[in-house]
């Protein structure tokens, strides 16, 4: 299974799997494969929610010679004044 899928996509697939399993008309083998996929998707979502490193960036205009005015991204932590 693709590990890079978004939260939204994971939830969408999970709902699809549940719908298929609910119909109860699938061969046993397929049901079990779907179940395993479903559990994998739930793990993926929980992992995303545990949110390893959240990236917050500030967009600034570059002052580097030759790149003046280009937008650069730098890590950012807002400070209360």
């Amino acid at each position: 299974m693709n590990e890079d899928i978004s939260f939204e996509e994971a939830i969408r697939r999970l709902e699809e799997i549940i719908k298929k399993l609910e119909s109860g008309s699938l061969p046993l083998e397929e049901s079990i494969t779907l179940y395993e996929q479903g559990v994998g998707l739930i793990r993926r979502c929980t992992g995303l929610l545990d949110g390893a490193e959240r990236r917050i960036t500030l967009l600034t205009k570059s002052r580097d010679p030759g790149r003046e005015g280009e937008i650069e991204e730098h890590d950012f932590k807002p400070q209360t004044t």
């Binding site: 978004s6 939260f7 939204e8 939830i11 999970l14 799997i17 549940i18 399993l21 609910e22 109860g24 699938l26 046993l28 049901s31 079990i32 179940y35 479903g38 559990v39 739930i42 979502c45 929980t46 995303l48 929610l49 545990d50 949110g51 959240r54 990236r55 917050i56 960036t57 500030l58 967009l59 600034t60 937008i71 991204e73 950012f76 932590k77 807002p78 400070q79 209360t80 004044t81």
Partner: protein, 439 residues
Amino acid sequence: MPAYLFGAAHMDEELTVIPASDDAEAEAVMNDYIHVMTVTQLNGYIKSLLDISEGLKDVWVSGEISNLKSNHQTGHLYFTLKDDGGVLNSVMFKGYASKLKFIPENGMKAAVYGTVTLYPKSGALSFACYALEPLGIGALYLAFEQLKIRLGAEGLFREDRKKKIPIFPKKIGIITSPTGAAICDMVDITGRRFPCAALQVWPALVQGDGAEDSLIAGLDWFNSRTGSERCDVIIIGRGGGSMEDLWAFNSEKLARRIADSKIPVISAVGHESDFTICDFVADRRAPTPSAAAELAVPDSAELRTRLVNNYRYLNTLIRKTIEMRRQKLSLAASTPVILSPERRLNDMRSELSVINDRLDTAVGKQISQKNTEYSECLAKLEALSPLAVLSRGYAVTFDKEGHVVRSISGISRGDRLRIRLSDGELGVAVNEIICETHE
């Protein structure tokens, strides 16, 4: 006739009779004769009087705007300010007119700040305005209302124009001041609720000169990103302030950019009670920046509960599926063929013999019927056979070529013939021919 007793219309006449070598001389002569000014001089004199008159300089005048004309080429604004007693021709030059937040309209009561002056060329008295304030209602508020009505009529606020805010954004673009409570709140709240969303902050001027351009630059930059570089939703906003402070968010240019944004925009300007044009045109209005952060991302605590429930439900479903299969299996195992295959075989055997018997009976009956038909046929055939006729005493005569002899004609004495009887043949010779005569 002394000229000074008469009106100006007669002055020209007088002038024509005065001999003059040149204009300067004529003027000098006139000045000796009577004080005569040129129109330009008089207008210039009036203008200078007006210009030094403190009471006509930098004054506020109130009245109703009418005959409003805007010169599209020069950008100047011409109108008449009137009240019950009179009218005042007014002009507002481009430099001042372009600073107006709202659009003056005919019938609008206004207080105008300016100076009375005269245009020597037209001789017209004019009130040159530097500022114009609507009466009874704030200029900013009026401007806001006017723009709201105009953009509303264009359909920019229509619900069907609004884009859906994604439920699970991967990346959020924030256009606001990089300092202050608003950005801190948004970073905190999104982090607490949905930490898997990345934030990109466009540091914008949120008030004063340049704020409009700065906000627009942010929108344009986010919209210029493509593919995974592009954020899923934009929050544009700032913390609370006066109507003047929030004014940049009432910009028509910004409103149109928000309407054109390919990325859904959440507007979060000021407090709950503050409404800006930006709020109306955005795909979603949040009462405050904090509320915008809550709108932009789902709550991970809720999501976790949902995921746990999903996990339990999946387990239930798969258990049910397996249980169902198990039941089917045990049902199948209890059928006779599985329990005793031999008995089933015997059953089939006896069934087979019954079928066999039925087949025999059916076939036997058909055979005896065919036999009867056959003997009947044979009897019929026998009855028709010439042998049967011979057996009754008849005979057939053949000549020597083997042809049947049917008549005495052609037969001579001494011819040898053969007679066929029922059980054999006789070879005979003809010794007498008797002709039978018919009566």
